[in-house]
Structure formats: C-alpha cells, structure tokens
Symmetry: C2
Subunit: 227 residues, 2 copies
C-alpha cells in the first residue's frame, strides 16, 4: 500500500547540504505492522514524514496505493493525508489554543463530520487513551505523557487505514505504554496498516516486521530474511 | 541539600482547581542520585519544577541548602537557578532562534563567562553528548533525540552542583541512552546531586534511591526501607 523507490531527502541550511535519507527503497503491505528502529538522527522521522505526505522527497518516487504522490495536486494530497492516514508526531504537534477534545476533533472537522458526531467520536478516542478527565485542558495544562496521548487520540479518531506512529510511548510509564500498544494492536487486528518508530526494543521485537535505519539507509529488514 | 515540607501544588483553570501535588515531604542529600518514577500525570514534572525553582508551591516549604526559597528575592532565586542547578526539561525548552552552541552557552552567559571560554566549554559539552556535527543547527533542524541531547548539554555545561533531569532518555535509542546515563553517572561520581525522572525501570533500579509518585503523593521511597 506504500512504496518508496530510491527516495533521497536532502536538507539545505544555507550553503550546507545534509542527506537525511540516502536512497531508500521499501514497500509496506496493507494490514502489516512494522517497527522502524535505528539510532537518534538516522532518518526515521524524515522517512515517516514522507510516508505521511507531510514532506516530499528530494528525489525518488513514493507510490501510495499505486499512485505517484509527486503527481497528485495539493487538494488530493491533503485529502489522502486527512482521511486515510493518522499521524502521531514525535513532538506531538498539538494546537496550543485548542483543548484536548478540540485537538482530537480536527481530523473529523476536515472530513466534514457533524459537530455532535465529532464530539462523541472524539470523547470515545479520549477515553480509550485514558484522558477523559483532561478533555477540556489545553496542551500547556497537560503533562508530557498526557500530551502524547492526546496526539494518539487525534491520530486514531477518524479510524484511518494507515497509522504512522513516531515514538508513541517515549513519554509514558510502562503501564500506560502497554495500554497504548493494546490500542495499536487492536487497530492492526481490524486490518489497518501500522508503522511504529520506537526506541523500545521489546516493543519492536513483538511486531510482524522490523526495519532498521542507520545514517539514512536501510541497514536491516527482518522481512527479507526468510524464517 | 533539598528539602520539601508538606508541599502542595494546585493548578487553577478558570473555576476548576486541580491538585497536582497533595502534600509532599521529602529530602535529598548532597551527592545522592535518585530516580523519580510514577504513572503519567502523577506529578513528577510539577515536583521537579518546584525543586528547580522554576515554580512555587501553593503551600508548604522548600528549603534549598537550608534557605527557605519562598523568602528569597527574585535576583537571589534566579542566581541559584542559573548557577547551582542544571535542568533538563521533558519538552527540552530550547530557544528556537538560537543554534545548538548558542543554546548550550546560555547558562555560562548568565554567569558572565567570557565568550571564548563559553564557546570552548559548550563545544566540550556538545561533543560529550555526541552532537558535534550539529553544533550550528537550530532546534527545528534537529531530530527529536538530538534536541534532547542539546537540552542535556545545556544543563551540564556550567558544571552545576545539582542536576534535575526530567525524562533525559525518552527520545533516545538504547545505545545513545546508555551514553547519556554514563555522563550522568560521571557527574554523580564528581559529588553532584542528581534527580532523574524516568519511565525506564531498568535505569531506575540502578540508582541509589527510587521514589515513586502516584496521584500527587509519595507512594514509595526505597531509602525509607532499611535493607
Ligand atoms: N498548567 C496546568 N494547569 C492545569 N493542570 C496541569 C497543569 N500542568 C499540569 N497539570 C496537571 O497536573 C498533573 C501532573 O502533571 P505533571 O506534568 O507533573 O505530571 P508527570 O508526572 O510529569 O506526567 P508525565 O509522566 O506524563 O510527564 C497532570 O494530570 C496534568 O494534567
Ligand atoms: N530541517 C532540517 N534541516 C537540517 N537537518 C535536519 C532537519 N531535520 C532533520 N535534520 C537532520 O536529519 C537527520 C535525520 O533526522 P530525523 O529527525 O529523521 O532523525 P530520527 O531518526 O527521527 O532521530 P530521533 O530518533 O532522534 O528522533 C538528523 O541528523 C537531523 O539533524
Ligand atoms: Mg525522530
Ligand atoms: Mg512529566
């Protein structure tokens, strides 16, 4: 369902060029749950932003459900991004002046869902991540792990077919981390496609497949080695 | 060296009052390294902000080196905060328009250290956390774990006597996390006092002492139980 072909990403800072991804070719099947691991700075978030249509490659192709993303217009791209993909950001990226429930409703708002349904569906997602008592807090009035959980609620509320989770448990205690993993597993059981960037090796080893990045390249892919 | 007596912290949001700390009494000795653990939302960061003189309790006393912090003037408070304490924030709190080296130099700048020495000491701290090749990047041009490491460099560059680390390894891979822990251990060996909030139970069990918070109260303190 997602296919990268010789994708490169070069950041430019003034005269300096930094290659964060140096030619990545990989495909993810529908319904697969993959862990993406690798050292800090190896290119995981950069790859996730390209897969989530939040950034474009410097060169190479990205085929999403067979369509070349580079050839899609802005409207079609944001339609795919808002409807089909749920993105859990490593830095949460919550809107500061909106409350937990208003942040969580955003994907539904873009899809034109009615107010009453938006509120009901958002409160369900908020309850699932254990944040019910904080639904009216703004992000500054939340703990680190509570902000992370609000970001998770917002990424799953519209039941997207693809969920891209960038470090979804980094700020959570073991028990809360397990609750979040149970939610992701349940979404996977429903046939959704999941990519999870994680530094938690225990979590990474439990998933169907494990891809290792290093210095902007794929160092290892557990699916390639026939078991 | 730090003593909390019946400290409460109540956040007020409009008409709603939320007690994040409900009467905490605890003391930390000089040279001790303590892990602070507990579920997401249990009050760990709130306690760390009070210990780091970044926030004041709603009631109760905080004695820092025997002095009642509530009675200190703003100048004396910021002097203690800038010279004696190094704070690693859970959300990093880097200044967006400053580069890695400029962010790291900040504590030395407040202490009036000369430019040449500031630069040299900052580059040493930056090299220690493995961020040398990124010293001129601004925070937006860094990965999540690189931002975390810049926040760590900034907290240790002025060799403070007390280091308060709020989740210092949440965004780091295992190897980089171990490098950071080695730095914290080395600082501890030099006689400094460390408090480390962490969700990593393996790390927490390695430290001299482990304090558990739950719902704004101390649920457990490993130092209290004679071994
Ligand atoms: N400014 C604020 N206004 C209202 N409530 C707040 C504010 N800051 C924190 N809280 C609440 O106080 C409680 C304690 O927050 P704190 O940040 O200390 O938790 P924590 O133990 O650090 O959690 P985490 O492990 O998720 O970082 C949380 O439930 C949070 O919602
Ligand atoms: N906007 C940018 N400009 C310049 N360099 C950047 C930019 N964003 C990221 N980088 C660099 O690209 C490299 C890859 O970054 P990326 O965020 O993908 O890493 P990561 O694998 O997610 O790391 P982490 O585990 O620390 O989150 C990093 O070394 C970083 O310094
Ligand atoms: Mg990242
Ligand atoms: Mg916290």
């Amino acid at each position: 369902v997602m296919q990268l072909e010789s994708v490169e990403k070069v950041y430019r800072m003034g005269e300096v060029f930094l290659a964060a991804l140096r030619g990545i070719s990989i495909s993810f099947e529908e319904g697969e749950m993959t862990a993406i691991i690798g050292p800090s700075g190896s290119g995981k978030s950069t790859a996730m932003h390209i897969l989530g249509c939040l950034d474009r490659p410097t060169s190479g192709q990205y085929l999403l459900e067979g369509k070349n993303v580079a050839k899609l217009g802005d409207d079609e791209l944001s339609d795919i991004r808002n409807r089909k993909i749920g993105f859990i950001f490593q830095a949460f990226n919550l809107i500061p002046h909106l409350t937990v429930v208003e942040n969580t409703e955003l994907p539904l708002f873009y899809m034109g869902v009615r107010r009453k349904d938006r509120h009901r569906m958002s409160m369900e997602a908020i309850e699932m991540v254990g944040l019910k008592e904080r639904w009216q807090h703004s992000p500054a009035e939340l703990s680190g792990g509570e902000r992370q959980r609000c970001a998770i609620a917002r990424a799953i509320v519209h039941e997207p077919r693809v969920i891209l989770a960038d470090e979804p448990t980094g700020n959570l205690d073991t028990k809360t981390g397990k609750d979040i993993l149970a939610i992701l597993n349940r979404l996977h059981d429903q046939g959704r496609t999941l990519l999870v960037v994680t530094h938690d090796n225990e979590l990474a080893n439990k998933l169907d497949r494990r891809v290792t990045l290093r210095d902007g390249q794929i160092e290892d892919d557990s699916r390639k080695v026939p078991v």
